[in-house]
């Protein structure tokens, strides 16, 4: 069963001479449990694709289905609900809420989804243990290293047991040790059957995927299955 389905998806910026086709009519099916890596040169549209898949941007054309529900014509409120229930985001620059502690950042999506404070606290504790940061739960983001911040971001992405985790250059701002730690986490997610779509420049990250799509000028130029 496909968690994500995309048909004729396009995102255009500008007009006539200044027209940029960030994503140019792509089709995609992502089955449940698959780890998909999208690679390509800078500006090829891979981050825009990820934003469109997660409902962070609206497409110019085409349809996106997430868990059978259309995203491209959904209202802001419906998108918000879908994001908190079905999608977890991991960004290159972490995007943690600076005034909340690590644990509070992880609790955030649970509370937004209507979870009780007690449930949120327990789940955050569990997730932070899984990413090896239980001892740093009370720290504010600025006190954490880059790798630690990204692990908090991963824990936050998993908070509501999403159908799909969308990761945009998750190791782009990390050193080798921190990259290895994040890759280990992604390996665990893959083993647990978590659907994962990641955009990356890093060959090591792409190598951990089941499937690799190469993009150029907003289009898919190669779609390779790396593992059976």
């Amino acid at each position: 069963m496909n968690v994500l389905q995309v048909r004729g998806l396009a995102k255009r910026h500008g007009r006539e001479q200044t027209l940029v086709r960030a994503v140019d009519g792509v089709d995609l099916d992502v089955p449940a449990g698959q780890t998909l890596a999208v690679m390509g040169p800078s500006g090829c549209g891979k981050s825009t694709l990820l934003h469109l898949l997660g409902g962070l941007e609206r497409p110019s054309d085409g349809q996106v289905w997430l868990d059978g529900q259309r995203l491209d014509n959904a209202g802001e409120r419906a998108l918000a609900r879908l994001r908190r229930r079905a999608v977890g985001f991991v960004f290159q620059s972490f995007h943690l809420v600076e005034e909340l502690s690590a644990a509070e950042n992880v609790e955030l999506p649970i509370l937004l989804a209507g979870g009780s404070p007690r449930t949120a606290r327990r789940r955050a504790q569990l997730l932070l243990e899984q990413v090896g940061l239980a001892h740093r739960a009370r720290q504010l983001p600025w006190k954490l290293s880059g790798g630690e911040r990204q692990r908090v971001a991963v824990a936050r992405a998993l908070a509501n047991e999403p159908l799909v985790v969308l990761a945009d250059e998750p190791t782009g701002n990390l050193d080798t040790a921190a990259t290895n730690e994040v890759l280990r986490l992604f390996g665990q997610l893959r083993a647990q059957g978590q659907t994962l779509v990641m955009v990356t420049h890093d060959g090591r990250v792409a190598a951990t995927a089941d499937r690799l799509i190469s993009m150029r000028d907003g289009m898919f130029v190669e779609d390779t299955w790396l593992a059976s």
Partner: protein, 606 residues
């Protein structure tokens, strides 16, 4: 639901913890404006409320009737007022002497010494606020008079050459407040300012033996206390004991109603009211100007915060709730703080003589409601723009660095090219944000209005109030001056805080531009000077514009006298304002210019 409420509170508390400076500024601005405005709005009717409280607590008379002298003629004519229209009760006839009081340690003042009953009658029962009521050999001093003299229970005073201990301090509603205790001179004409002293009736015999001027008086109770007008119109026609009319008697009777006393007591506040009301509105404008700039300065950060919340699934409603709750909570806290300050300050402002009871003072229900509505309105107006902008922007865009296209005044930018570097940079910063420069100029104009009025009032020769051998300050004049000084200081404080906020916001917003200017060869000194110049340029027209407005206000509300300061002197007002602006903008400008160019450019493009 609990979880979402917790989340909103957590995000609000976290943001306030992380940005305490802007939060403190918001609280300060709104609290100051609320305090002054609520005090100004509380003044109408304030004296009346206090007088009525005092009247109820002391069984105050409906009318006080006085006649010169203490002879039979005076007593007879006053007693005949029992037959005047509407009169249902009459006190015994009291005597009062126009004496001089000397406090121990020096200092003289005019005093009215009233021969009092050891057990006060049913009309006028003065309320002892400290010590005890009169006893043989001991006097009680009226509270406002005691406060002005600095006399306390246990102190000694000398009246007409005899020493008496002060055994008590009391208030009464049978007199207008200090220093208008005499309510008329010994001959029935106008009286000098003086304070009231109660003395045991037998103790006044030595005074009676002297040639001190004196009057007799009675307290009247009316059938309908609200209808004293009929009495005032007809009491002269009341038959006297000699078969004639009261109006024909040898002793001329003067009557004072309790309504007259309310009016006389309110004279104190006559000049304070416009100061507080106009000052309150000017301060409110300064608060709005400061908060708008603050909100603009934080817009980029708030927009990013909105993006972060959107990414994790927050709905527009919840995001709006987070943004508005913070401003609302701070505004309501500031409103409560301002009202509390007003409550504490109210006695000194509403009851400067201290002659009236202060059982309940300060802002009442409608004033509290009004200032709260204003505070909430200011918060909503400030928060709504950034909130709506942030909510309307795509999540991805909100997470990216701000790419807001600034307004741009092309002509000003071109003119700037001909000027030295600091002026060039300053003018171009103004050209990017002309609205903010106008706001800064208007804020400076408001402050300049306050300073102009303050200087004009303080330049007037001080009117001394001769209360006997020593000249005591004219309390009403003092009251006006103190109010004006307090409001102007508050305005200066807010204006300086606003200037710092504007400099900080401009420095923050122009970081990338200034970093690029530095890569092109501008020095940190030129950058700092440019940022300061951007604040200084609007200060000058603002300060100049405030002067005529201040002169108009002083001409309109002030005494009917020519200005004691020439326009030439007033034109110097911009100088200290420019100096203060240069000083307070120097720090943010310098800090901003010191930041590493590479770091700034990396941050802006990350």
């Amino acid at each position: 639901m609990t979880g979402r409420i917790l989340l909103v509170l957590r995000l609000v508390a976290g943001d306030v913890r992380r940005h305490p400076g802007p939060a403190a500024m918001l609280v300060l601005s709104v609290a100051v404006a609320t305090a002054v405005l609520s005090l100004g709005m509380s003044l109408p009717g304030a004296t009346e409320r206090l007088y009525l409280q005092t009247r109820a607590a002391t069984a105050g008379p409906d009318v006080v009737a006085l006649a010169p002298g203490d002879d039979e003629a005076a007593t007879s004519v006053l007693t005949s007022l029992a037959n005047a229209p509407g009169v249902v009760g009459l006190s015994r006839t009291y005597r009062q002497f126009f004496a001089t009081l000397t406090r121990r340690g020096g200092g003289e003042a005019r005093a009215i010494v009233l021969g009092a009953d050891r057990r006060p009658g049913p009309i006028d029962r003065p309320l002892v606020t400290s010590g005890r009521w009169v006893r043989p050999g001991g006097v009680v001093v009226e509270k406002g008079f005691a406060g002005a003299l600095g006399v306390h229970v246990g102190d000694g005073v000398t009246i007409a050459g005899r020493s008496y201990p002060v055994v008590g301090i009391a208030v009464t509603a049978a007199r207008t407040v200090y220093p208008w205790a005499a309510m008329g001179g010994p001959g029935g004409g106008p009286g000098d300012g003086s304070g009231l002293v109660w003395m045991d009736e037998p103790d006044t015999r030595p005074l009676a033996a002297t040639d001190l001027p004196r009057t007799s008086l009675v307290y009247l109770r009316m059938r309908d206390p609200g209808d004293t007008a009929k009495y005032m119109a007809t009491y002269h026609d009341t038959p006297n004991s000699a078969g004639g009319r009261v109006g024909d008697s040898a002793a001329r009777v003067n009557s004072f109603t309790w309504q007259f006393m309310i009016g006389q007591n309110g004279v104190y506040l006559r000049d304070s009211q416009p100061i507080m009301i106009i000052g309150g509105w000017l301060l409110s404008f300064l608060a709005v100007a400061g908060m708008t700039t603050l909100a603009a300065g934080r817009a980029a950060g708030q927009t990013r915060r909105v993006g972060l919340l959107k990414v994790v699934g927050a709905t527009p409603g919840l995001i709006g709730a987070v943004l508005l709750t913070e401003y609302l909570a701070l505004a309501l806290f500031a409103d409560a703080l301002g009202l509390a300050v007003a409550h504490v300050a109210a006695p000194a402002i509403i009851n400067p003589s201290g002659s009236l009871l202060m059982t309940a003072a300060g802002p009442d229900g409608p004033v509290v409601a009004m200032t709260t509505v204003i505070a909430v309105g200011v918060a909503l107006l400030t928060a709504l723009g950034p909130a709506v902008r942030a909510l309307r922007t795509d999540a991805v865009t909100t997470l990216s660095p701000a790419v807001r296209r600034p307004e741009y005044l092309v002509l000003l930018t071109r003119v700037a090219a001909l000027l030295p570097i600091p002026l060039l940079l300053g003018l171009r910063l103004i050209a990017r944000r002309p609205g903010r420069a106008i706001l800064h100029a208007c804020g400076t104009a408001a402050t300049s209005i306050g300073i102009t009025v303050l200087l004009l009032v303080y330049a007037q020769p001080e009117q001394g109030w001769d209360l006997g051998g020593v000249t005591m300050a004219d309390l009403m004049n003092d009251q006006t001056r103190h109010m004006l000084l307090a409001v102007t200081v508050a305005m200066l404080t807010l204006a300086l805080v606003n200037t710092v906020t504007m400099a900080w916001t401009t420095a923050k917003e122009s970081q990338a531009t200034m970093a690029i200017a530095r890569t092109l060869g501008a020095t940190p000194g030129q950058i700092a000077a440019g940022l300061s110049t951007a604040q200084l340029l609007p200060t000058l027209p603002g300060a100049l514009a405030g002067i005529p407005f201040g002169m108009f206000l002083q001409w309109f509300f002030g005494p009917d006298e020519p200005f004691a300061l020439s326009a030439g002197w007033l034109l110097l007002i911009p100088l200290p304002l420019l100096l203060a602006t240069a000083l307070v903008t120097a720090l943010p400008a310098r800090l901003s210019s010191r930041r590493s160019v590479a770091e700034t450019l990396n941050t802006e493009t990350a």
